[in-house]
């Protein structure tokens, strides 16, 4: 957006700078997708969205639970008597039942090796709000945080934009599977000190976005002792904890702390239900700190992003249903594992390798062999080809600040099985550079479309009214818009 000089004087620096990060090329792929979205019948040559880390694989289980538990909703006949109390409930401590349910859930996700205290559960506007709140509590404008790369592109906004805090990346290398080493941390820390940058802490994402790997005990212990030595904070973003679908198991920093000599006041966890449960729309973010002052401060700040009491009430009920939660976690892992396997196997068959991963809603794909040269420029060129020719919106490693060009994050959970097949087909064809004749190609896509129409599939884009000529301008779409052509967006009164 162009800012006039007048605007810069009239409005704040924050409003007129671009530290919100939305002008990054990360979002260009989204724009390509928005202007030409894949649809199995109406637009089989459209761009497939593989840049969105969402988890809709187990909605059927949740919908069933909701249908069977009408008293969990304040709007049903069974739950209506709670409406008034819930509608006026704006206490920033949050509903006790909600906090207890979330604490129990977090414990279960950690394999019940840790008990989380409901009184330390503090709400926030999604993990987005939680991360920002943590930074507001721990650092001042001008301070900095070490963040191992590759890391989530949204951190640029969440950690820096309104807080005025800086990110100092700690570059990890593929040579050791991008593990975070003590040496790398020390080096980054020393370098920052020399440049007079005040490091206030380290932020890790475990399981990792974009790698899809979990941190092992050793690395976690090393991080905890590093921050204890340097007297700086450790914020562990654990929002993908329940997306672990095979061994090794997820280990929370809370677990590691239990038998270590460390300063608990420096350790904080960010959690959310957006990835594990697939509820990004419900905006459930959690700040969990072992530091009382931080907990109190974050709680006051939660006024700026409380979870709707209606949602607290529903989730309090759902997450305290032990049987449901157990079944959900098991099923979710199973389905993620299956989907992951289909993709990685398919890629293996054409010689594309991925980082060995066991968590997350994506995999980290190695396209280095396909680069003309090992540069970011070449990576960007390859990326544009993937978007425009192969028609897959994948996310280039550079948008995750990866120091090595050629890596791509590919999301696999946000589509149905048939779309997975199409995506794999396309990748295979691209890699093998199959030179099929136009006719043959046309026959194949026609046959695919026919097969589709014959089968009775429950697709995400099943309604024809979704495909409308009047597409919204790419600039109007939020980068977090999961389904820009969702019936909710297209509806008119």
């Amino acid at each position: 957006m162009e800012f006039t000089r007048k605007n810069r004087q009239l409005l704040s620096r924050i409003a007129t700078n671009d530290r919100h990060g939305e002008n990054s090329p990360y979002f260009d792929g989204w724009k390509a997708y928005d202007s030409n979205p894949f649809h199995p019948i109406h637009n089989p040559d459209g761009v497939i969205q593989m840049g969105l880390a969402e988890n809709p694989l187990c909605f059927d289980l949740i919908e069933k639970w909701i249908r069977e538990n009408p008293d969990a909703s304040i709007c049903t006949a069974e739950g209506l008597d709670k409406f008034k109390d819930i509608a006026i409930f704006q206490d920033y401590h949050g509903l006790r039942e909600f906090r207890e349910a979330v604490a129990k859930f977090m414990g279960r996700v950690g394999g019940n090796r840790v008990t989380f205290d409901p009184n330390r559960i503090v709400m926030s506007g999604g993990a987005t709000g939680a991360n920002e709140t943590a930074i507001f509590c721990l650092a001042d404008p001008g301070d900095a945080f070490l963040v191992p790369s590759p890391y989530y592109a949204g951190f640029a906004r969440d950690l820096r934009w309104r807080t005025g805090v800086e990110i100092v990346p700690v570059h990890c290398k593929s040579s050791n599977n991008f593990r975070i080493t003590r040496a790398a941390l020390e080096e980054a820390y020393e370098k920052a000190q020399r440049s007079n940058i005040n490091i206030k802490g380290v932020i890790i994402t475990n399981p990792s976005n974009p790698l899809g790997t979990v941190l092992d005990k050793e690395t976690l212990r090393s991080l905890v002792s590093f921050v204890t030595d340097k007297k700086i904070h450790l914020v562990s973003d654990e929002i993908y904890a329940a997306t672990v679908f095979s061994s090794p198991r997820f280990i929370s920093v809370a677990e590691v702390m239990q038998d270590m000599d460390c300063n608990r006041d420096l350790i904080h966890i960010v959690y959310s239900l957006s990835k594990d449960m697939g509820f990004p729309g419900f905006r459930v973010g959690i700040v969990y700190s072992f530091n009382d002052d931080v907990t109190n401060c974050a709680r006051k700040m939660s006024s700026f992003g409380l979870v709707s009491s209606q949602t607290q009430f529903l989730l309090a009920s759902m997450l305290s249903d032990d049987e449901f939660v157990g079944n959900f976690l098991r099923e979710s892992s199973k389905r993620l594992a299956k989907r992951h396997h289909v993709f990685t196997k398919g890629l293996e068959e054409v010689g594309i390798s991925t980082i060995k991963s066991n968590a997350g809603l994506f995999f980290w794909m190695d396209m280095r062999p396909l680069l003309k040269e090992q540069t970011t420029k070449a990576e960007t060129e390859l990326w544009r080809v993937i978007i425009n020719k192969v028609k897959l919106n994948v996310s280039p490693g550079s948008s995750f600040l990866c120091s090595e060009p050629g890596w791509f994050r590919v999301c696999f959970a946000n589509m149905d099985d048939k779309t997975v097949e199409v995506a794999l087909d396309r990748i295979r064809e691209f890699v093998l550079q199959g030179k099929e004749e136009n006719n043959h190609e046309a026959d194949k896509s026609q046959a695919r479309a026919q097969r589709w129409r014959k089968q009775n599939l429950r697709l995400s884009f099943s309604s024809s009214r979704l495909y409308d000529e009047s597409l919204m301008s790419p600039h109007m779409i939020s980068p977090h818009s999961p389904i820009p052509h969702s019936p909710l967006v297209r509806a008119r009164t």
């Binding site: 957006m1 409003a15 007129t16 506007g125 309104r162 729309g281 709707s308 529903l314 109007m476 939020s478």
Partner: protein, 460 residues
């Protein structure tokens, strides 16, 4: 500490929490009169919900929309929700102003909306002018994380606390002397804590002032749906339109904050919004709303509630009627104790004049009186000083967050309290003695009430 939560405003709440009034279980507890909430009209919403089962199970014409809702995190918000909101906002303003849903930005409550606007309009160290008395939460919402300063614009009882051009200029000069760059003025209309709507004159002063100084006007109109009496509500945009300023520079410096917490009585749902004709502000605040989006589940429910036009019309009318009646009950009850209120036509509270009960015209005397009100009379009312009022002796007393019966108990307690003060004169009271005699008195009042049924007690 600039979150402001050590102020007496919040201390009263703590005391209340330790000993909350309950008609049956704790009749001598503290009555909460410091909470500007509207609990008068829930039955209307509940009855609507009972008649509309589809909304309950997240169904849209038979099909479950659960999945789409769960995934919907677009910071532009549900378009249908915003369409309904702008229609509702227009309705509140007698349809004299039309709102464009593309200029509406959702936020997690007015708390978040106000903070976000300040982040967009001012840099750390810059200042916003705020007429006093003002909502104590502003100290947190406008200043805490933004680093922006508040410079109060002093208003006085001598003219009903109206905002004058003189007061605005004086505040601006004071800011200059402190080397603070003023970026805007924030008003609450209808006013919290005064309960009054702004006059056309005041609004004109503000607009003229904003034009002259090239600053923003933020109009926090969260109580706009609680106007229950004449004169009617005039929105700042209406005042600007009356002066044909739609194409003037100042038009893009006028911003409105609204929420569903006060008139619809749904503070738990965290539905706030910013309305601005300034595209840059809309763009920036939309991005910032990522830090506090409205739950899609809640957006969906309220879209359906607001879509029922018959319901909203009925609700607005009935709600205003009940608020008016309740306010009149409070005002006449206080009058019987010789206490006057500022003449008001909106809000969920009255601005009560207790200056004559002060031992001296000082802040200390006000605090002492407040202590007595909370501990002796058992009423958590809010002292004017917590609203940065320049004159001691004023208190904000809420009336919409309790049952009629509870309000009656409160009125009786005030009467007893005043009678006791008159009896004892202005000498220091022995708290111990008074506690037991007060308890006795309350108990006998309560027994009297229980033994004779109140013919008016049919309201919920």
């Amino acid at each position: 500490n600039s979150h402001g939560q050590d102020s007496s405003y919040f201390l009263g709440w703590q005391l209340y929490e330790n000993n909350p009034f309950h008609e049956v279980e704790n009749p001598t507890g503290i009555i909460q009169m410091g909470l500007a909430e509207n609990q008068l009209s829930f039955d209307l919403v509940e009855s609507w919900l009972r008649k509309n089962p589809d909304v309950m199970e997240l169904k849209k014409g038979g099909e479950s929309v659960f999945r789409e809702l769960a995934l919907f995190q677009d910071y532009h918000g549900l378009p249908t929700f915003k369409n309904e909101l702008v229609e509702y906002m227009a309705k509140i303003r007698g349809n004299k102003v039309k709102f464009d849903p593309n200029n509406l930005v959702l936020a997690a409550g007015a708390t978040s909306a106000n903070e976000t606007l300040i982040f967009c309009l001012a840099d750390p160290g810059e200042a916003i002018l705020l007429p006093t008395p003002y909502y104590p939460g502003f100290d947190r919402d406008l200043k805490w994380r933004t680093g922006v300063e508040i410079v109060p614009v002093h208003c006085w009882s001598s003219n009903g606390f109206r905002i004058t051009m003189f007061a605005l200029e004086e505040a601006y000069e004071r800011a200059q002397k402190l080397n603070l760059k003023v970026k805007g003025v924030l008003i609450t209309n209808p006013s919290n804590p005064l309960g009054t709507t702004m006059t056309k004159e005041e609004l004109d002063h503000l607009i003229t002032f904003a034009m002259a100084k090239n600053i923003h006007v933020i109009s926090d109109e969260v109580f706009s749906g609680t106007v229950f009496d004449s004169p009617g509500f005039i929105s700042i945009l209406e005042a600007a339109m009356d002066r044909n300023l739609e194409n003037a520079d100042v038009w893009s410096r006028i911003h409105i904050v609204y929420s569903l917490s006060k008139d619809l009585g749904l503070p738990g749902f965290r539905v706030g919004m910013i309305y601005s004709n300034n595209k840059t502000v809309v763009g920036a605040s939309t991005k910032m709303s990522s830090f506090g989006l409205v739950s899609s589940q809640t957006q969906y429910l309220l879209t359906n509630v607001l879509a029922s036009k018959r319901f909203t019309s009925k609700y607005m009318k009935e709600n205003q009627k009940r608020l008016k009646k309740r306010k009149e009950m409070l005002v006449s009850g206080l009058k019987k104790s010789g206490i006057e209120c500022l003449k008001s036509n909106a809000g969920l509270f009255c601005w009560v004049d207790m200056r004559h009960l002060l031992s001296s015209n000082t802040l200390e005397a006000e605090t002492k009186l407040w202590n007595q009100m909370v501990c002796d009379a058992g009423l958590n009312i809010s002292p004017g000083s917590s609203f940065h009022c320049s004159e001691p002796g004023w208190f904000r007393v809420c009336f919409a967050n309790m049952s009629r019966g509870t309000l009656q108990v409160a009125m009786r307690r005030i009467k007893d309290f005043v009678e006791r003060s008159n009896l004892m004169g202005r000498i220091k009271m022995n708290y111990q003695q008074n506690m037991s005699s007060l308890s006795r008195k309350l108990l006998s009042n309560w027994v009297r009430k229980l033994s004779s049924p109140d013919p008016d007690e049919h309201e919920r």
